[in-house]
């Protein structure tokens, strides 16, 4: 019975399938790409069609660039089959290209052309491009300073936090002394230390490094500790009967078993350390993106602020992505046991 109905369905379905015009399947695959192309052409047109209300030098180039993106979107998606993985990737991102093109068009029209949004506070896209081209050296210096400060503080905080977490998870004596201190100091927001840190440390750079390390260290410590403490005794029993010494139990049993927790701590620490970084740069350090933001605000250079903000978000999400890929590499054994 079931086989009959199945083949019946196939028989009646086959001609219907072949009747679907090639156009439909083409539209399904490349339609979004065409839409994306249209959206970016609209953006290009919106740049070039009307006169700017202000004095911006990159409007023309931005319009041309928009048309180039439109062309890439069109040919890239239509000819995706000949472009291999790049074409496939482009097709996958086509809906986002549509949204981005539409958003930029709206932004362009609402700021540079008709000033629906009040002008100095809401700069048009071309003025942000202008910042990237004309103020690049200063911006790059700031990026470099921020990355250096963040990386140093984060690495110190993560290392110290990890070691502290393992030792209080492992040793009762260490836990007895460190746990109350951690309880007392840990929940304090690292930014609360700012005023004290800036006059007790020899330089604002070392003070900020300390604060970032503090903000990173607390969650890493707590999560590492809870990870080590929650390792099942059965693992230790197995290792001990196989002849494991205490060092083996720590390095080869406790730490690998706790690693998923450690990474949760590392992610939390990364988030809170970003906050400390920006505040520290705004208040004490005379370099970095936070300082750049502050400086731009002082000069009412709103385009520079948005430009710096975009760079900052790229850096932060880049750091998170990097941490994710490290985790994926180290915790590959978790794949299939938990949802990623």
């Amino acid at each position: 019975m079931s086989t009959y109905s199945l083949s019946d369905g196939l028989a009646s379905g086959a001609p219907r399938l072949s009747r679907t015009p090639v156009l439909a399947s083409w539209l399904r695959e490349s339609g979004v790409g065409v839409l994306a192309s249209i959206a970016w052409m609209a953006f290009g047109l919106s740049c070039l069609w009307w006169e700017d209300l202000g004095d911006w030098s990159r409007t023309h180039s931005l319009g041309i660039a928009a048309f180039i993106v439109a062309a890439i979107a069109l040919f890239g998606t239509v000819g995706a089959d000949y472009l291999g993985s790049a074409g496939k990737a482009l097709r996958q991102r086509a809906p986002w290209l549509v949204a981005l093109g539409a958003f930029l068009t709206l932004w362009e029209v609402a700021t540079a052309k008709f000033a629906w949004l009040p002008l100095p506070f809401f700069p048009p896209p071309q003025s942000i491009i202008e910042v990237y081209t004309d103020d690049l050296p200063k911006l790059l210096d700031s990026v470099f300073a921020s990355v250096k400060l963040q990386l140093g503080g984060y690495l110190i905080g993560a290392t110290v936090g990890f070691l502290t977490g393992v030792s209080i998870g492992w040793s009762r004596a260490v836990g007895y002394w460190v746990h109350p201190v951690l309880r007392f100091i840990g929940p304090l927001p690292a930014t609360a230390w700012l005023p004290i840190a800036f006059f007790t440390f020899p330089s604002s750079w070392s003070a900020s490094t300390f604060l970032i390390a503090l903000a990173t260290g607390f969650p890493v410590t707590v999560l590492t500790w809870s990870g080590v403490a929650s390792v099942s005794n059965a693992y230790y029993d197995v290792a001990r009967t196989l002849g494991a010494k205490p060092s083996f139990l720590v390095l080869k049993v406790a730490i690998p078993a706790a690693l998923p927790h450690v990474f949760v701590g590392l992610f939390m620490g990364l988030g809170s350390s970003f906050a400390v970084l920006v505040v520290a740069e705004m208040i004490g350090v005379k370099a970095g993106l936070g300082w750049y933001l502050q400086w731009a605000q002082g000069w009412a250079a709103y385009a520079n602020m948005y430009a710096a903000l975009i760079v900052m978000s790229l850096l932060c999400s880049g750091a998170i992505t990097l941490l994710f890929s490290i985790r994926d590499r180290l915790l590959v054994w978790q794949k299939g046991t938990v949802k990623w």
Binding site: A234, V238, T241, L242, G243, G336
Partner: protein
């Protein structure tokens, strides 16, 4: 059958079993200040190479006795000796296979089996022993798999390989087949017997299954309810491989169940 072909390639000579002497061991747990006796004056002497099954009602303290033999816990009173040497701490000559395979999920099958050699710091020169142990349990093809990719029976076989790679003198089995399905269980019982016959280690098996004890062991110790005392010491003088329907074994089984207070059902 897998085991038989693999065994031909084993290069290390079979480790002879050790004698085990348990003398007047008593043990108690302290639960919220209340003393709960689990072992009461247990004495037992196991010959080298014997296969002894410890049978008793659930929760009677059999597993506690195994932990004492393994050296994971210290007895409250009495002493345990392996080849006349007092047991004070765990040693790879006495390896435990637990009811749960407790494989390390972050290690591949190969690395799990290598655990003992790695812990003793001799893995570098003895890598072939890991391959041999995996061959022995028929899982060479799975050496790069992670534990979560294995079935329950396969995971338990890896746990067995992880124990055997150390060439133990005493193999301690804490209901290792308890959670397996009945088919896998029967297969693994046969594998256990053939491994024990070829390698010659002393085996201590805790089980709550009278049939399993009779098919595998050449001596069955029946324990009383908690606190556990030795109630009967039964010799099973039948050649291997044993047949489950053997009337001699059926008769012994009836006796044992009677000792465990289940005569009404038989």
């Amino acid at each position: 059958m897998v085991a038989a072909t693999a065994l031909a390639e084993i290069t290390t000579p079979p480790a002879a079993g050790a004698a085990l002497d348990i003398e007047q061991v008593s043990h108690a747990f302290d639960i919220d200040g209340v003393e709960l006796p689990v072992l009461s004056d247990v004495s037992l002497s196991v010959e080298p190479g014997e296969f002894v099954a410890l049978l008793g009602p659930s929760g009677c303290g059999k597993s506690t006795l195994l932990r004492l033999v393994a050296g994971l816990d210290k007895p409250g009173a009495g002493s345990l000796r392996e080849d006349e040497v007092r047991i004070r701490r765990p040693h790879p000559s006495r390896v435990v296979v637990f009811q749960d395979p407790t494989l390390f999920p972050w290690r591949t099958v190969w690395d799990n089996v290598a655990l003992g050699l790695e812990a003793q710091g001799i893995l570098k020169s003895q890598r072939h022993r890991v391959d041999d142990a995996l061959d022995l349990v028929g899982l060479s093809d799975f050496c790069t798999a992670y534990p979560h990719q294995l079935s329950g029976g396969m995971a338990q076989r890896v746990a067995l390989a992880r124990a055997l790679v150390n060439d133990p003198k005493i193999l301690i089995l804490d209901e290792p087949l308890g959670k397996l399905d009945s088919l896998t269980r029967i297969t693994m019982q046969a594998e256990l017997v053939s491994l024990w016959q070829r390698k010659g280690f002393t085996t201590l098996l805790v089980t709550h299954d009278a049939e399993e004890a009779l098919v595998l062991a050449n001596r069955v110790i029946v324990f009383s309810d908690r606190p556990a005392r030795v109630k009967a010491d039964i010799r099973v003088d039948r050649p291997y491989p044993r047949h489950r329907g053997d009337p001699y074994l059926a008769d012994l089984r009836r006796q044992i169940l009677g000792l465990l207070g289940l005569d009404a059902t038989w």
